[in-house]
Amino acid sequence: MTDGQSFLQSPIGATRGWWDDLETEERNTIVGLAVFGGLLLAATAVGILNPTYLLYLLTLAGMFTLMTLGLNVQWGYTGLVNFSVIAFWGIGAYSAAMVTAERSPLGWELHPVWGVVVAVVASALLATLIAVPTLRLRADYLAIATLGFAEIVRMVINNERAYTNGSAGIPGIPSVAEWVESPDLVSFLTIALLVAVVYLVLRRAQLSPWGRVQRTIRADEDLAQALGKNTFRFKLQSFVLGSVIMALAGVAYVHLITPLITPTGLEPIRTFYVWIGIILGGSGSNRGAVVGGLTIVAIRQAPSFIRNQLLNVPAIAPYVSEINVGALRLFLVGVLVILIVRYRSSGLLPPKREHIWSKTLEDRS
């Protein structure tokens, strides 16, 4: 092992060795994140950015990271197209809201743990329900079918007032703010812990024989079958696992971020955000999914942030005030999507050595 050797040298030498071992993309991403983090800290220090708001953004990024991690299992590992990401998020959020909230039409007011249980069970069941018939469809049909499914979920939530409160949504969900002194910090730490656990679980799965089969299916499903793999079983597991993680993101949202859920949270545009996150981060890479989660929040927040700052410049303020932030955001996202596809970007952190079991990389002479 080279690690042991480098530890014997000076700490600087060890660091340099570690840096030299990195791939170009890894270095770029580290530098990029460091610069970005530095800018955020600087902005907080000079008061442009409120620390509470920064924590809120990071918590939001954690939630989106859960969603990109979930989609990465489906699309990155196995190559399954899922355009109902936000529906599974919504199922998680509504499961938690319906069984725990004081003003839920069900009126059960159960402990949040039950919200998690219901969310996991409901999302797993619905994922199975949609996956069993559709997983053999071509990628483009699967995209349309899953988007249709997501819209049906949104319609049901909008219409079944007796359970969901319809378009008014469910307020008063027990929130972290009711339990602790500094809810922002606790929210952030909780979501960070959740992301870490999910990340480790997924990494273990990815580096296992299970993950190797999924990668084979993505590259060549016929080959996987010819090697005796029941590919349907593997695809189903991947779809359900990813969907459950998306549902957990929904649960986290209502308890940790906003104690209110309405059907507008289930807009299909959010599914596309998660897709952009995964493609930008690097499909197939868990680290890329984390970077993707951060990117989503940056893309969503940057237009209004920049606009607000530019409004302080008197010379251009009249023009800037004409800009519709929502439109600008859509425009930027649209351009980004086209550029990614046009230049076949493999993302910021494509999975090169990352998902290869390290033992298969050693020289075993």
């Binding site: 519709n324 955001r329 596809v341």
Partner: protein, 294 residues
């Protein structure tokens, strides 16, 4: 038993007209360019707002505005293909994702220029026609009648073009077998452009009518996109006549939901999606059997 309600049929015809106009272009692109164009719904919105600007801001008569809207739709469609899709040389899934980007850009432009509030055309014609009320017992206004009539004219013109002009024959040949069409001397790039022109213009007309029938909103097109996909998939991807039939059926189903027992009215759109998913599972080539005609 379900009672036959002429009112629902009349409403269904109006909605079907809009769906038919939208799904023809979607089907053409899906067939020849080989990807589901998620920007097609927002293209309808572009046409609707184009007509709004020409009519409302510039003050031209409404029929002129409709035609201008169709021209705008065609130009935007062709330009988008030239600038975005054609240079890409990517698979269906990549093009699908790129088309989502295009959809967002269209919508962003509309939101920036026209705002996010719902608007409507100031043309009147909303009062029910007395004659229809007395003879058929249905409430139908001039707008609805105009939508159905103009759609019939447009669909008829498309039919004549496909059957009796050389461009139409070339389009059908290209759809049936692109490589054969190319070797037999058909300039497929011309055919592809023609297809985007037709698809864009009809989508714009459908968008104007949707705006006329309901309201003009930047999101109007995206909200109807999946219904268009339902029609296209039902009719069989690539078949213009299939898209017409699929559009008619889906539009009718959408409005006739009140007559269907058990299913609550508010799930009318969901029924369209369920039909679509079922067709995808059972026979992805559609009920019309796929590409038998252009």
């Amino acid at each position: 038993m379900v009672d036959f309600d002429p009112q629902l049929v009349a409403d269904g015809l109006v909605y079907s007209s809009i769906i038919v106009l939208g799904s023809i272009g979607l089907s053409l692109v899906y067939d020849i360019a080989d990807f589901p164009n998620f920007a097609h719904g927002d293209l309808m919105a572009v046409g609707a707002f184009g007509a709004l600007a020409v009519h409302g801001s510039l003050g031209f008569p409404f029929p002129v505005a409709v035609v201008t809207g169709m021209v705008i739709g065609a130009v935007v469609a062709v330009l988008t293909n030239r600038v975005v899709f054609e240079p890409m040389d990517a698979g269906p899934l990549e093009l699908l994702i790129a088309s989502i980007g295009v959809a967002l850009i269209y919508r962003a432009a509309l939101m920036q220029r026209f705002g996010t509030e719902s608007q409507s055309y100031d043309v009147g014609g909303q009062a029910p026609i007395d004659a229809a009320q007395e003879t058929l017992g249905i409430a139908i206004n001039v707008r609805a009648v105009a939508i159905i009539a103009v759609t019939l004219v447009l669909v008829g013109a498309l039919h004549a073009m496909l059957q009796y002009t050389s461009l139409g024959r070339q389009m059908r040949a290209t759809s049936a077998n692109p490589s054969l069409a190319r070797v037999s001397g058909i300039r497929t790039d011309r055919v592809v452009t023609a297809m985007w022109v037709i698809g864009g213009a009809l989508a714009a007309a459908g968008g104007v009518f949707l705006g006329l029938h309901t309201l003009i909103r930047p999101r109007m097109g995206f909200d109807i996109l999946l219904v268009l996909f339902a029609a296209v998939i039902l009719g069989g991807i690539g078949s213009v006549y299939g898209a017409m039939a699929g559009g008619l059926v889906i539009g009718m189903v959408h409005e006739l939901t009140p007559a269907i027992p058990v299913v609550p009215t508010r799930y009318n759109t969901a029924i369209a999606f369920v039909i679509m998913i079922l067709i995808l599972l059972v026979q992805p080539s559609g009920i019309a059997g796929g590409k038998t005609s252009a």
